[in-house]
Symmetry: C2
Subunit: 206 residues, 2 copies
């Protein structure tokens, strides 16, 4: 019974610990998205939370661990973004329209988060530390795109003429350039993204 009690307590403590970690990581993510990876100090992050800067070292060993934890948390947010569309669409054109609209929507609503993702992916090319996690997220995104694309081919009754990596590269390129335009203040960026995404899909079929 004492054992079980201790466990329960330990569990509760772990949960509280994990909860606060998540809370701080959320504040960190918001700060990173706002300022960019390199312009964000631990003090900046703390100011976006209700705590002081020292607490970050109580919950995270160092800055790298915090960032890594953030990145992993971010991942969970995005990889299921389009799954509802895949699940509900009953025709190829419906899927195509839904995907284009969803991409344009997230470009409009989650600008800074997408900007942060590209920032982190680039930093991983210079800092070995994050390369593994970034590669893992990148792979998840590729799979997410692949689920869309294969379902689209299925609904079209056609075969695919591309690899997952190729399909992802094309759509990611289109999205990234739309993000660049959107952040430069181009009001047509979201609309054009929708159009371009719908244009890409058919070219992937055999």
């Amino acid at each position: 019974m004492e054992e079980r009690k201790r466990e329960r307590i330990a569990r509760r403590q772990v949960d509280k610990f994990a909860e606060r970690r998540d809370q701080l990581a959320a504040a960190a993510l918001q700060t990173l998205a706002e300022l960019g990876f390199v312009n964000t100090s631990l003090r900046d992050i703390a100011q976006h939370s209700e705590f002081s800067h020292g607490v970050l070292h109580y919950y995270f060993a160092d800055k790298s661990e915090l960032i890594t934890y953030c990145v992993r948390q971010y991942k969970a947010e995005c990889v299921t973004r389009y799954d509802a569309i895949v699940a509900t669409a009953t025709a190829a054109d419906e899927l195509r329209a839904g995907f284009g609209a969803a991409m344009a929507g997230t470009l409009r609503d989650d600008v800074t988060m997408h900007r942060l993702w590209y920032d982190l992916r680039n930093q991983s090319l210079f800092e070995e530390k994050f390369r593994t996690d970034v590669a893992e997220i990148d792979h998840s995104l590729q799979l997410m795109i692949w689920r869309i694309v294969t379902r689209y081919a299925e609904l079209s009754g056609r075969d695919l003429a591309v690899t997952p990596a190729f399909a992802y590269a094309l759509l990611d390129g289109v999205f990234q350039h739309a993000l660049l335009r959107h952040l430069s203040g181009d009001p047509a960026a979201t609309h054009d993204l929708d159009e371009q995404v719908r244009q890409v899909l058919p070219t992937l079929l055999g």
Copy 2:
């Protein structure tokens, strides 16, 4: 006569001044490509030259001006990269093969410079300072791609079904993902890039 002499001297001084600026900018570019934008200090740059760190403030007002100057110098290097291929190719397939090979070649040979370009383009999304210059280079690259694409359509005797921005987004996406793979140690990255570039071009035709 004195006037002319002074002019000649002034000219020589200006030339020497500009020469040293170029020399320092070259050292800076090399350092930036090696370490990445944010990991490069003025002292790092100076160590890649034969001078001390103070001299950079003699030739450049501040760090921003140095970086901007570097970026502009970098631009001149890349925008004419594929023009020889456009000029010499006499058949669509020859152009297609030459373009794919050239892309794969520069991925192999100029890895760090490409990595730097993507780094700078991303930084410009967080720092207003470089946005104009980056946008200008990006536009030049789009034009460079567009020269390839239009020539390819011309040699194919077909019309184009895409905008310059769309064609650039697709090919840039493919190239960037090849760069990611190449830097992660994937030995097939260059070969696949060649293949994928050749695969993209026909989809751009009507």
